[in-house]
C-alpha cells in the first residue's frame, strides 16, 4: 500500500434528509431523538474524527405541490443540537450548517461564538446560501436572491462575523464595532469575548465559480460533491489555485468531499451489500420520483421495471421544490437513455446506476487503500463520510477502517490538541483589532 506523508482529515455527516439514508432497514433508528445524535457523534469521536456535521434545510421539500413523503423528513435545529452534544463529547469538532440568506450577522456570530465557548473551541459553521424563494416563504426577509447577490451577501456576512469575533481584545476588553457595507449597516458592542478558537472554523459548500471564489477568499474547509478521483483532482487544483489571489497558502484551506462507503468481509461481500443498499435507497417509488425530478412531469403511472419514458423531459417544469437542481434535464435524460440502452436496464436499474452514490466499496483494507490513494493523488485533503444508517452507520468504519489508516500513518492515533482548528492543522486567526 502507498503511504502518504499527508495525514487525512475525517468528518461524520449525520444521515438525514436525503435519499441516501435508508430508513427501512431493521437497524435504522430515529433521526430526531437526541440519543441518535449522541451515538453518532460519540462514535465519530471514538474514531478521532475532526468534526461531526449537520446539514440544514429550512423548508420541507415538495413534489408536485405536495410534501415529499418518501425520504426521511424532519430534523432539529443544528446549533441547539450541537450545544447539547458539547456536553457528551470532549474533542470532536461540532459543525452546523446555517444559511446566510435568512439570518443576520450579529445574532449568528453570537450563537457561533457561544458554541465555541460552550465546547471549548470546537465550533464550525458551514455558511450556505439559499437557492430559492420557496424557502423564503418561511421568513420575513423572504424572497429571492440571485446567485451573485447570495454570494456577495454570504461573503459580507462572513466578513462581518469575523469583525464581530475580533471586537474583544485578546486580553478580554470589549470594544465597539461599526460595519457599514452593501448588505449590512450595523454598530454597537458584541456581547461575547473572543472565543477559544479566535474564530469558529468556516466551511463552504457550493460549486459555482462564485461559490469557489467565496471559499478561496474566506473558508477554512470546503465540503464538496466531487467524490471521484478525476473530478476531485480537477476541483482540488482549481480551488487551491484560487487561494494565491487572496494571499493565502495552499494548506490554509481543507478540501473534503462528501462520500459514502459500504464495507464487507471481502470485496465481493461488499459489492453484494452495496447492491442491496442501492435497492433500498432506490425503491420503486423513489425511482419514479427521480424520474419526475428530471422529466418535470407526472410519471406516476410509469412502470419502474419497464424502460425509460418515451416522452422527453419538460425543461421548463420543476416538479420538486426545496432541492438544488443538478444539470440540464434534457442532457440528463439523454445520458440515462444511453446508459439504459447500452446495458439493457429498466427504469429503476437505470436510476440506480445513474445516481450511484457509493464512493468506496470493499473490504476494510480495500477502502482504507482507496482513501489513502485519493488523498495522495491530491483529489482531497480528507472526507466527510455520509453513512446510510442512523445512528449506527459509522460503527463499522470506526472499528475496522480507522485502525488500518492509523497503521499506515495516514490518520491520527490521538487528538493533538483541544480545538477543531488544531485537528484541521489550521492556525488561529490573527487578531485584527
Amino acid at each position: 500500500m502507498t503511504t502518504t506523508t499527508r495525514p487525512m482529515h475525517l468528518a461524520a455527516h449525520f444521515p438525514g434528509v436525503n435519499n441516501t439514508t435508508v430508513w427501512t432497514a431493521p437497524r435504522a433508528g430515529s433521526q430526531i431523538d437526541f440519543s441518535s445524535f449522541e451515538h453518532l457523534a460519540r462514535t465519530a469521536e471514538r474514531g478521532l474524527f475532526d468534526f461531526f456535521f449537520l446539514a440544514e434545510g429550512l423548508r420541507l421539500r415538495e413534489h408536485h405541490g405536495r410534501i415529499h413523503d418518501l425520504d426521511v423528513v424532519g430534523r432539529p435545529e443544528s446549533l441547539t443540537v450541537l450545544a447539547a452534544l458539547a456536553s457528551v463529547t470532549h474533542r470532536i469538532g461540532l459543525a452546523a450548517t446555517v444559511n446566510t440568506t435568512f439570518n443576520e450577522p450579529y445574532e449568528l456570530a453570537r450563537r457561533l461564538a457561544t458554541l465555541d465557548h460552550l465546547s471549548g473551541g470546537r465550533a464550525a459553521w458551514n455558511a450556505v446560501t439559499s437557492p430559492d424563494a420557496f424557502t423564503g416563504e418561511n421568513f420575513r426577509r423572504g424572497g429571492y436572491l440571485d446567485r451573485a447577490h447570495r454570494y456577495t451577501r454570504a461573503a459580507e456576512f462572513v466578513a462581518t462575523a469575523r469583525e464581530l469575533w475580533d471586537t474583544w481584545t485578546p486580553d478580554g476588553t470589549p470594544r465597539p464595532f461599526a460595519h457599514h457595507g452593501r448588505h449590512f449597516g450595523i454598530e454597537g458592542e458584541f456581547t461575547v469575548p473572543r472565543s477559544p478558537q479566535g474564530h469558529p472554523v468556516v466551511i463552504q459548500a457550493g460549486d459555482s465559480a462564485e461559490g469557489r471564489e467565496f471559499a478561496a477568499s474566506a473558508a477554512d474547509v470546503i465540503f464538496t460533491r466531487h467524490g471521484t478521483p478525476e473530478s476531485g483532482r480537477a476541483f482540488y487544483a482549481d480551488v487551491k489555485a484560487r487561494l494565491a489571489k487572496y494571499g493565502r497558502e495552499r494548506d490554509e484551506l481543507r478540501i473534503m468531499p462528501g462520500v459514502t462507503f459500504v464495507l464487507g468481509d471481502t470485496d465481493a461481500d461488499a459489492q453484494e451489500r452495496a447492491a442491496e443498499i442501492r435497492l433500498q435507497q432506490v425503491s420503486p417509488q423513489n425511482a419514479i420520483l427521480a424520474l419526475e425530478q428530471v422529466w418535470g412531469r407526472d410519471l406516476s403511472g410509469h412502470d419502474p421495471d419497464g424502460p425509460l419514458p418515451a416522452v422527453d423531459p419538460d425543461p421548463t417544469a420543476s416538479a420538486t421544490r426545496g432541492r438544488v437542481a443538478h444539470g440540464d434535464p434534457l442532457e440528463t435524460a439523454a445520458r440515462w437513455r444511453a446508459l439504459s440502452e447500452r446495458k439493457g436496464l429498466s427504469t429503476r436499474q437505470t436510476v440506480i446506476e445513474a445516481t450511484g452514490r457509493q464512493s468506496f466499496v470493499g473490504s476494510p483494507r480495500t477502502v482504507a487503500e482507496r482513501l489513502v490513494e485519493f488523498v495522495a493523488a491530491d483529489a482531497a485533503d480528507g472526507f466527510v463520510l455520509v453513512p446510510h444508517l442512523t445512528p449506527g452507520g459509522l460503527d463499522e468504519f470506526v472499528d475496522r477502517v480507522v485502525p488500518l489508516l492509523q497503521e499506515r500513518g495516514a490518520f491520527r492515533s490521538e487528538y493533538g490538541g483541544p480545538t477543531l482548528r488544531s485537528h484541521l492543522g489550521l492556525a488561529e486567526p490573527v487578531w485584527k483589532g
Binding site: 418518501l70 460552550l118 449597516g185
Partner: protein, 355 residues
C-alpha cells in the same frame, strides 16, 4: 383556590456574565436537587453573556429532570428560527423546555441588526404575540403520528398529517410546516412576565406560566384573577395558567438581623418585588402567600446566583419540604408534568377529527 394546591418554584440562574458552561451546569443541578420546577436564564442582545438557549441546551444532557427556560426575544429574530430552536431544546432535553418570551425595545439593539428602527413596546408585544401564535402553529404542524415509516408503500411520513400553517400576521408571514417534528411536550412551556400593559395581554393569550410583580398578596391575587379572566375570554381554560410571583432575593445578609416579609426594594426591575433577609424567613413568606391563595408559586431571582441559590435550595426549599409544602422529588419527566399542565392537543389533528 384551596390551600393544598401544589406549590411551584423556579429560579433564575443568570447573573454577572460567565462564559464557562460548568458554572451553569452546577446551578441547574443545584436547582434540580431542590426539585424546583424550572430554571430560567435571562438574555438580551445587549447584555454581555452567551446565548441563553444554547447554554441551556449544553446544560440539558448534564441534568435529568429540571425544566430549562431560556429567554428568547422576538423583535429581531426570525419567528421560524425561534420556534425551531425552542422545539429543539425540547427534543434535546426530552421534554423539559420552556421559552421566556421577551422583546427588544432599545435603539441600541435595533442598531445591532440594522433592519428596523426601535419601536414602541405596544407594537413589539403585539408582534411577540404573533410570534408565540405562529410558533404554536408550527409546533402543531406535524401531528404526533406523522412519521409512519411504511415500508410497504415506501412512505416515511403521512403527508396528510403535515400542515402548512399559512400564518399571516400584521408583522410577518410563515408558510410552514416546521422542519422540526412536534416536540415531546407538544408545546414547550411559554413563560411571560405579565404584570401589566401589553405583555399582560400576550400572557393571558399565550402563556402557560405568567410572572407577576407585586408587593402585597392582595395585589398578586387581583393580578391572577385578571389574567385568568382574560385567558377565559380567549377561550382558554383559566386553570391551565400558572401565576408565579417574581421575587428578587438577597440572602447574603443572614448574619444581620433578618428583615422578614416583603419590602419594596431598590428598583432592580421596574416595579419589581425584592426580598432581603434569611432563607427561613423567605420560606415563611412563601408559605404565607401560597396558603393565602395569592399565587401558584414563586420565581426567585437570586442577587448572586452562586451564593443565594445554594441558600434557597438548602435553606428555604428544605424547610418548605419539611413542612410538606413542596415536593421532595420530580414525580414526572417533563416540565409540563412538574407544572401540572396537560400536553396540548394538536389543533390540526382536532380539525381533521371534526372534518
Amino acid at each position: 383556590m384551596s390551600a393544598t394546591a401544589p406549590l411551584h418554584l423556579a429560579a433564575e440562574i443568570g447573573g454577572p456574565p460567565r462564559y464557562d458552561p460548568a458554572h451553569y451546569i452546577d446551578l441547574a443541578r443545584l436547582a434540580e436537587r431542590g426539585a424546583l420546577d424550572f430554571v430560567t436564564l435571562g438574555d438580551s442582545f445587549l447584555r454581555p453573556g452567551l446565548d441563553a438557549l444554547a447554554v441551556l441546551a449544553r446544560v440539558a444532557p448534564a441534568t435529568h429532570r429540571i425544566g430549562l427556560v431560556p429567554t428568547v426575544t422576538t423583535t429581531h429574530t426570525e419567528p421560524f428560527h425561534v420556534s425551531s430552536a425552542v422545539a429543539t431544546l425540547d427534543w434535546v432535553s426530552r421534554g423539559r423546555a420552556g421559552w421566556y418570551v421577551d422583546v427588544s425595545t432599545t435603539g441600541a439593539e435595533a442598531r445591532l441588526f440594522g433592519r428596523r428602527p426601535a419601536a414602541p413596546a405596544d407594537e413589539l408585544w403585539q408582534e411577540a404575540g404573533e410570534v408565540a401564535d405562529a410558533s404554536a402553529r408550527l409546533w402543531d404542524s406535524w401531528e404526533d403520528d406523522a412519521e409512519i415509516r411504511d415500508a410497504a408503500t415506501g412512505r416515511f411520513v403521512d403527508r396528510d398529517k403535515l400542515h402548512h400553517i399559512d400564518f399571516e400576521g400584521a408583522f410577518f408571514s410563515v408558510r410552514g410546516p416546521a422542519i422540526v417534528p412536534r416536540p415531546p411536550q407538544g408545546h414547550p412551556v411559554v413563560v411571560v412576565d405579565g404584570t401589566g400593559g401589553p405583555a399582560a395581554r400576550v400572557a393571558a393569550r399565550h402563556a402557560d406560566v405568567v410572572l407577576v410583580r407585586a408587593t402585597a398578596p392582595e395585589r398578586a391575587a387581583a393580578l391572577r384573577a385578571e389574567l385568568r379572566r382574560r385567558a377565559a375570554a380567549h377561550g382558554r381554560d383559566p386553570r391551565a395558567l400558572r401565576v408565579l410571583l417574581a421575587l428578587t432575593v438577597d440572602l447574603g445578609d443572614i448574619e444581620t438581623a433578618p428583615e422578614p416579609g416583603l419590602e419594596s426594594g431598590p428598583p432592580l426591575s421596574a416595579g419589581g418585588s425584592y426580598y432581603r433577609g434569611g432563607p427561613v424567613d423567605l420560606a415563611e413568606l412563601i408559605t404565607r402567600w401560597h396558603r393565602g391563595g395569592a399565587v401558584d408559586g414563586f420565581h426567585l431571582t437570586p442577587i448572586t446566583p452562586g451564593r443565594d441559590l445554594e441558600r434557597i435550595v438548602n435553606g428555604t426549599v428544605a424547610l418548605l419540604q419539611h413542612r410538606g409544602l413542596f415536593r421532595t422529588f420530580h414525580p414526572g419527566g417533563t416540565l409540563r408534568e412538574h407544572l401540572g399542565l396537560a400536553r396540548p392537543a394538536n389543533r390540526y389533528a382536532q380539525e381533521r377529527g371534526r372534518a
